[in-house]
Point group: C2
Chain length 146, copies 2
């Protein structure tokens, strides 16, 4: 996602309106690496702009996504997350606290076997690294009993 100033210009050039609600959402997303859900964004913006509705949050996220300014990402099946970092990158996911962090390192795309390449042409790829973040590491012995 570009800087707020540029984003405002982009909106104006597309005849999209700048409202306090939208500006608040822009501010929350700018530089945000926490992969917030719509609900996270909604609760955060309520601190600043208490009368905002869920609908507006969703609709603004939809506009930003359609402009290619944010990505909707799927990690677990329970909800969608939004990421203002639109350059391709990978993620680490803590299996205990579900924290998602970015991996901006670029890796060579692993080479698919020939039988698959006969039937499928990959254009990009995404790696999810599962494991434990430092806070959760060491407290995980009991996971196997779940």
């Amino acid at each position: 996602m570009r800087k707020i100033e540029e984003l405002v210009n982009l909106f104006k050039s597309r005849e999209l309106k700048i409202t306090p609600q939208r500006l608040g959402i822009f501010k929350i997303l700018e530089g945000n690496t926490s992969h917030p859900s719509a609900e996270n964004i909604f609760h955060e913006i309520r601190h600043i702009y208490p009368m905002i509705s869920f609908t507006t949050v969703y609709k603004t996220l939809e506009v930003l996504e359609s402009l290619g300014e944010i990505l909707k990402i799927t990690i677990d099946g329970t909800r969608k997350y939004y990421d203002p970092n639109t350059t391709p990158h990978h993620h680490t996911i803590c299996s205990r606290c579900n924290m998602i962090a970015d991996v901006n390192e670029e890796f060579d795309m692993p080479r698919l076997p020939g039988e698959i390449l006969d039937k499928f042409t990959p254009s990009n790829y995404h790696i999810s690294f599962y494991g434990n973040c430092r806070e959760c590491f060491g407290e995980v012995k009991d996971v196997s009993t779940i």
Copy 2:
């Protein structure tokens, strides 16, 4: 997921009952590489066992998952898919028809940069290869206009 015969023994040893509904679900899942959703399974089993309910499908899948016999996988945020192949593997996903196929090849886990390893200990990883399957390849020129 193990073979149906072994699965039946496993259920019996855990005092879990074998019902025609459960057996039907086992049969649909055995060797299934199509990553069916609960709805897919429900519709397929209805051909054989027309009075089965969605509830039973979900509850049986839950039991199988808790036994570690199937995995619940997340690809898009709209629904969950079930995979009887519980050995770690990767997937190809066609961006046009959403078909998911298995990649059983093993790759070396890409090495995370030191700054990340300080904060996160990976234990396994999953790669999603996005692209187009043969059927869809060549019909994708118009995607950029969406």
